[in-house]
């Protein structure tokens, strides 16, 4: 599993952010073509701004080999004391190869007690998923997972 160092990631996001500012990378929109790693980066920038994102604290639970891309169980757990002073504010999930880069945004808060959410998602291809958590002090933490999908979503036609 490729793990980039914090500074490399900051550089990468910095470059992508500049590109987005120039307008060469499209932001979130319903396009007929698939998302790419660049649109995922742009979507991330759209949601969390230009702050640095560190790897850690976030556990992204997705089956490494998916039974069916139409319904993939996903659980995200963020380690945090979960107190009024130190808790998870929100969790944002992105993908790189679906037609659209966003999967969902989940807003928690001090009353949550545990920084964990579960849902079921669609994956159109084998790809990387990224989950980013914003803590109460506005620090950002992320995790990624590589998922292999043999039966894809978003491609089945209406019968």
């Amino acid at each position: 599993m490729r793990k980039s160092e914090g500074s490399t990631r900051r550089q990468f996001l910095g470059i992508a952010g500049t590109a987005a500012a120039i307008g060469t990378v499209p932001v979130v929109s319903l396009r007929p073509v698939a998302a790419t790693p660049e649109t995922m980066t742009a979507a991330i920038r759209n949601v969390i701004g230009s702050a640095a994102v560190r790897i850690g604290k976030v556990k992204l639970d997705v089956p490494p080999l998916v039974e069916n891309g139409n319904t993939v169980p996903m659980t995200i757990t963020v380690s945090s004391p979960n107190t009024a002073e130190d808790h998870v504010k929100s969790i944002h999930v992105f993908n790189e190869k679906n037609p659209q880069p966003n999967i969902g945004n989940f807003y928690l808060g001090p009353q949550a007690g545990r920084g964990q959410i579960s849902t079921r998602i669609r994956l159109a291809d084998s790809q990387k998923i990224t989950a980013i958590a914003r803590m109460s002090d506005d620090s950002l933490w992320s995790a990624t997972a590589d998922v292999v999908v043999t039966l894809a979503a978003c491609t089945e036609e209406v019968i």
């Binding site: 319903l30 007929p32 139409n70 319904t71 993939v72 979960n82 993908n95 679906n98 037609p99 659209q100 966003n102 999967i103 969902g104 945004n105 989940f106 807003y107 928690l108 808060g109 009353q111 949550a112 007690g113 545990r114 964990q116 959410i117 579960s118 849902t119 079921r120 998602i121 669609r122 994956l123 979503a153 978003c154 089945e156 036609e157 209406v158």
Partner: protein
């Protein structure tokens, strides 16, 4: 007709962290499928899910086409007082559904 399945513990002790599980019936049409004639089937998804605990928002989610049909969402909250959880799903084409569950906290 039952559109939602909610799972909230009926009872809890004050301060317990409880899990709330929700399942809503909805096709979550992505907007990327085509009919046999080649026309796009328009997007029809739930875009927002909110949970209020005695009137105060404790959880909210923005949903996109990448969320699977019949959205299943689980989250946690601290049981503070007896009362009611109100759930609301809002989506395309004026979709709006509500559900609620009560809890007794001692």
């Amino acid at each position: 007709m039952a559109s939602a399945l909610i799972n909230v513990p009926k009872k809890a002790k004050r301060g317990d962290v409880i899990e709330i599980k929700t399942l809503m019936s909805h096709i979550m049409e992505t907007g990327y499928r085509h009919t046999a004639a080649g026309q796009v089937v328009p997007r029809d998804i739930i875009t927002s899910f909110t949970c209020r605990y005695n009137g105060e928002e404790i959880f909210r989610a923005d949903l996109f086409p990448a969320i699977a049909a019949n959205p299943f969402i689980t989250f946690f909250t601290i049981a503070t007082e007896s009362g009611k959880f109100d759930f609301e799903w809002i989506g395309d084409n004026g979709f709006s559904e509500k559900a609620s569950a009560t809890i007794s906290v001692e």
